[in-house]
């Protein structure tokens, strides 16, 4: 099983690194970091704050967009281009194929987030801004968010077109970032709003867990510039993300297994 998963993952990695859009995202992230330097100079004595905020936002935004882009296309094109006929006729289970595709994507996204992170750290170093453990934790959380978003995209791609999958995944990513507002709506909203917010909270992954800087965590406001979350929090948030990834991939595998490749 491991050999088959690795074979699909490796092939997906090979496929993904040939997609030029990825390099466009890379340029955008480097551009965002350069912009952070300019903004930092403009904001008096706030170079460190601006650089960290823009850098992390760049990783989260462009990492998630890349995850959606890869997730909605890589599985769909296998069916559309009929390359699936060669693979699915071999002794591989459909779920292994879906998981292998995800692992390959995860590998590409991990490399990308790594490069994004290094670009950010490089920019911070250029401005003599120290790279604290808070920054590293924030990068790890952003990486986990990207991996969850990739699983969301693969899930939709297992039964839908890239266009619709892209819209659904993007919507879920935005809603997933708004969980504190949804929780607030459950507490204070009117009947129907409360019901909708409750259902949404149950079916949407809590992506806000991965972008907590400037927000309250268990009553205390945490910030990547001062007191940030502990490694314990990072571990728990990652487990939460992992649970969503497993769940989403399980549903994707079930849906993909039911499909005919005519």
């Amino acid at each position: 099983m491991t050999a088959r998963l690795w074979a699909i993952a490796l092939n997906t990695f090979r496929e993904a690194v040939r997609i030029r859009v990825l390099y466009g995202f890379l340029v955008l992230v480097v551009g965002a970091n350069l912009l952070a330097i300019v903004l930092g100079v403009m904001a008096n004595n706030e170079e460190a704050r601006v650089s960290r905020d823009v850098g992390l936002a760049g990783i989260s935004l462009f990492g998630s967009l890349t995850a959606i882009f890869l997730g909605v296309f890589l599985l769909y094109t296998e069916v559309q281009r009929r390359t699936i006929h060669v693979i699915a006729s071999k002794p591989i289970e459909r779920w292994e194929f879906v998981v292998g595709k995800y692992l390959g994507m995860g590998l590409v996204l991990s490399v990308l987030v790594g490069v994004f992170g290094l670009a950010m750290i490089g920019m911070l170093a250029l401005q003599d801004v120290p790279v604290t453990s808070a920054v590293v934790k924030a990068i790890v959380l952003a990486w986990m968010e990207v991996l969850v978003v990739a699983a969301i995209a693969i899930f939709f791609s297992s039964f839908s077109t890239p266009f619709l999958s892209g819209i659904f995944a993007l919507a879920l990513w935005v809603i997933g970032r708004l969980t504190p507002d949804l929780e607030n709506a459950v507490r204070t909203g009117a009947g129907s709003i409360r019901a909708v917010a409750k259902v949404t909270l149950a079916v949407v992954p809590d992506l806000h867990l991965f972008a907590v800087s400037g927000r309250a965590v268990e009553g205390d406001v945490v910030s990547v510039h001062a007191d940030f979350v502990s490694w314990g929090y990072v571990g728990l948030a990652s487990l939460h993300g992992l649970a969503w990834i497993v769940g989403l991939l399980a549903f994707a595998a079930i849906l993909f297994s039911r499909r005919d490749f005519a």
Partner: protein, 317 residues
């Protein structure tokens, strides 16, 4: 005639296979397979022929687990379809194969070898042998993107043989090949049978079927119309009897009721209808002093049988 075939001797057994699709918007039901039943014995070359849309590819994709049948069942080498176990001992070439165009042939074969769990050194050795065998040695370093259709077909054949399969399923293997390429594929199929493999292939090219198959099945409109050895399929209907004689005098009434009468000096060639009393005609020719040179029954060609079966299937509402 009854044939007794042990299940253990079967490479492929298909029972009442049915598949219906719904059109995307109108939700109209289309019956692609309407109760297909046949068997392929181990060690045979089995030709699966039919016009476009007959159900050949749907049958093959169902066997390979790409499509789920609406009803019916199938086994490959005694293993239920669809299953991973069934696919383990099969090599498959899809119709107009699509591969990852950024790979080279060795990379493609490496990927396929990994899916079959073939260990690294053996994978490389086998890939090298197959690349040589299908004549792609000079294109080893080229991406599949740059391959012609014929080259892609060869790459497809190589990947279908990567696991040294017991059963090889080829969907239109001669498609896109020039006459030399077709001959090479025919030779490859024959060499697979010589090596004890079973080959099941679909095609439109009836001359290939006649040349290499042990058994043939004709499918049209999702149903099997006929099956048997090529000889059985054509022997069932003698169309005419072609006779050539050497005359010593005039032909007289020997040409009465005959068709395609040709005379060249003292040689007379003609065709008698299948219903004619050939013995009586020959006795009359002897009595007229003629010497018989040849008497040959003319059978229906496989192509004619194929066209007849397809036309009869199409005639059913």
């Amino acid at each position: 005639m009854y044939r007794l075939t042990l299940v253990a001797d079967l490479a492929l057994a298909v029972r009442d296979l049915r598949k219906s699709f719904r059109t995307p918007f109108a939700r109209k039901k289309i019956e692609a397979l309407r109760g297909v039943t046949f068997e392929v014995q181990k060690g045979h070359i089995f030709g699966f022929v039919g016009p476009n849309g007959a159900g050949k590819t749907t049958t093959i994709r169902t066997l390979m687990g790409l499509i789920k049948p609406t009803s019916g069942s199938a086994t490959i080498l005694g293993r239920t379809v669809p299953s991973r176990a069934a696919r383990e001992r099969v090599g498959f070439l899809p119709e107009s194969p699509y591969f990852y165009d950024y790979l080279t042939v060795p990379e493609l074969l490496d990927l396929v070898g990994r899916l079959f769990g073939i260990p690294g050194p053996e994978r490389k050795k086998r890939a090298d042998e197959l690349i040589e065998r299908v004549g792609l040695s000079r294109a080893r370093t080229q991406n599949l993107k740059k391959f012609s259709k014929g080259m892609l077909q060869r790459a497809g054949l190589a990947q279908a043989l990567m696991n040294d399969p017991e059963l090889v399923v080829l969907d239109e293997p001669m498609s896109g090949l020039d006459p030399i390429g077709r001959k090479e594929v025919r030779d490859l199929i024959l060499s697979l049978r010589d090596a004890g493999k079973t080959v099941f292939f679909s095609t439109h090219i009836l001359s290939d079927v006649e040349a290499i198959t042990d058994r043939v099945a004709i499918i049209a409109r999702g149903q099997l119309q006929a099956s048997g050895t090529p000889a059985e399929l054509v022997a069932q209907s003698v169309q005419a009897v072609d006779i050539t004689i050497r005359l010593t005098g005039e032909a007289g009434d020997l040409t009465a009721g005959a068709d395609q009468v040709r005379r060249h000096e003292d040689e007379l060639s003609l065709s008698l209808p299948a219903s004619a009393d050939v013995d009586a005609w020959l006795a009359k020719a002897h009595a007229a002093g003629a010497k018989v040179i040849s008497v040959a029954p003319r059978h229906e060609t496989l192509e004619a049988r194929f066209l007849r079966e397809v036309a009869s299937a199409e005639a059913v509402p």
